[in-house]
Amino acid sequence: MAGSSLHERLYTPTDEHGMLRQTVRQFARDAVEPQAMEHDQSGTLNVALLRRCGDLGLLGLTVPEDGGGAGLDAVASVIVHEELAYCDPGFALAYLAHALLFVNNFYWASTDAQRARYLPKTLSGEQVGAMGMTEPAVGTDVLGMQSVARRDGDHYVLDGRKTFITNGPEADVFIAYAKLDDRITTFVIERGFAGFSTSPKIPKMGMRASTMSELIFDGCRVPRENLLGREGGGITNMMRNLEIERLGLSAMSLGMAQRCLDDMVRYTQERRSFGKPIHEHGQIQRYLAESYAKVEAMRALIYGVAATVTPQHRNRLGTDACKLFASTAAKEVADAAVQVLGGYGYCTEYRVEQFLRDAKLIEIGGGTLEAHQKNITRDLTRP
């Protein structure tokens, strides 16, 4: 990776971050890279590999030490997502759905009893977690969700449907949002609850090393103790974690773009046309130079914003900007890589076509470009 030691220091601020990056990079090279193409092609999640992330302690990265996690910050989360996505964006997405959307979300909203019940197995990876917010008819306008909950003795009863739920097919535990008395409320759902099921896998363009499905609530009976936070407190839970989630997705864009850039640089030094390496052609130089500039800009923005996000301190504007910029920049870099590698780029062997398909997701998932544009403008023009 290019850059000076000082440069490295900006993106790896403490020794702990340095060791984390080294561990994850090594793990990604040794264990994640070799299985990536197979899982992209078969459209399956490597559950055993997610469990190995648990052995390393990566699943509880942002959970404080007293909760059994590592107690690390948003920068650490960015490092992990960047390094994993460099080798396998689909797997990185499954990691995000588990470690951030489920574990991190759950930890900050749960009671001690709930933590005792669900944390050990989700921190180890014995159980896979997922989170359900989007519905077939409701995406960005999340407040209009149609899933409903009602009280029934010592249970809640949920009806509705969630869709595009990453890890849905494999997950054992879920965080799900539904309206109770017209107020968004959060519940913890276990696979096996009466009235709960998941649909078959939903086929998709990219990120195929992670899976998605619908969550179906058909009179699903949820014990009262599985209320997460308070009744009507769903928005608080949701908003508390959005920043670190956007950073994780942005960091995935960064990892993908860095990978495509590295592959491009290597290829243009080896491939020759008209009697010289193709990086000596001006048209190719434009792809390389612009991609490098985009990667560096993404990195600076993402790490700069990540340093400002803590459980106590939010930075909505910054994280919206990260994802708005990084998602499209990564897609452009991946597209450049496909173009530069030509026929090889379009075929699966060099994997850049996969990164292009994968990179597109970040413009949609976890907030569309249009949602970020709306949020940023609203914050900027607020009187």
Binding site: M1, M19, Q22, G69, A70
Partner: protein
């Protein structure tokens, strides 16, 4: 049982070497623990623990490095793997040579009195392959180099070291205290035996990753910052680097028309026959 593991930081060997003004350009380097030294840390941990149960009773692994303050990160990563404490002796890589390193390590051994000194067979930057042998010589300790396997005797008074040689594997038993340098295969799944981990147990290939738990624990482990003067050593290298250049580019291949020309060229130009 106390094991001392000297380790060195090196520029990441997976990255491309850049030459600038007759020296290796390290301004953009990212630094890692010398892989062979990392294997030595792994070996030390395997010698002391029950790998199957994931427990260790007693024993101590002390890592030592000689390098600038940034090298603390590399010793921290050895602590994160499971070593118990660390010593960093402050020095710039350029200002010291193998003999200086040996002098420092000699003083540290005198102070720490380890039962075993375990180290990589060489550092992958300079590839000198000298420190282990010279240190054992200076200390008057028995040595076994290029270990591909190691077995700690049940009475912990000796180690049986397997070394891969041309004709097969040579086994050497050396009494402790002693010094062993390790080769790549020492981190294969069953290369280390200690009569604690069940013989049938197989480790994963390669050194362990520092887990998050290990990384967080490493913060609290002692790391002593020392100077060359603390050990009565002055840096007076007898070896100096005069210049660095990349090997010349390979000349392009030639096509010949027939076998006699080929033979003639092999004899006269390549001097291969």
């Amino acid at each position: 049982m106390k094991i001392l593991v000297p380790l060195k930081r090196v520029p990441d060997p997976e990255l491309k070497t850049k030459i600038k003004d007759g020296a290796i350009d390290l301004s953009g380097a990212s630094w890692v623990v010398n892989p062979f030294d990392e294997y030595a840390v792994e070996t030390a941990l395997r010698l002391l623990e029950n790998g199957d149960a994931g427990t260790r009773e007693g024993g101590e692994v002390v890592v030592v490095t000689i390098g600038p303050s940034e090298a603390a990160q590399q010793v921290r990563s050895a602590l994160a793997m499971g070593a118990d404490r660390a010593i960093r002796v402050d020095a710039e890589d350029k200002a010291i040579d193998a003999l200086t390193v040996v002098a420092v390590l000699q003083a540290i051994v005198a102070e720490e009195k380890p039962d075993l000194i375990l180290m990589g067979k060489q550092a992958v930057d300079g590839d000198a392959n000298q420190v282990g042998q010279m240190l054992a010589g200076k200390l008057g300790l028995p040595q076994a180099t290029f270990a591909a396997s190691i077995e700690l005797a049940e009475d912990k008074a000796s180690v049986l070291v397997g070394r891969e040689v041309d004709a097969g594997v040579e086994y050497k038993r050396i009494p402790l205290p002693g010094l062993v340098t390790v080769d790549l295969r020492i981190v294969s799944p069953t290369a280390v035996k200690n009569h604690v981990t069940p013989d049938a147990f197989a480790y994963g290939d390669g050194p362990r990753y520092a887990s998050l738990k290990g990384i967080m624990a490493a913060k609290k482990k002692p790391l002593a910052d020392k100077t060359l003067a603390d050990y009565g050593v002055t840096a007076s290298p007898v070896i100096a680097e005069k210049g660095v250049e990349l090997p010349p580019a390979r000349p392009p291949g030639q096509k010949v028309d027939d076998i006699p020309t080929l033979v003639q060229k092999l004899v006269e130009e390549a001097k291969a026959l």
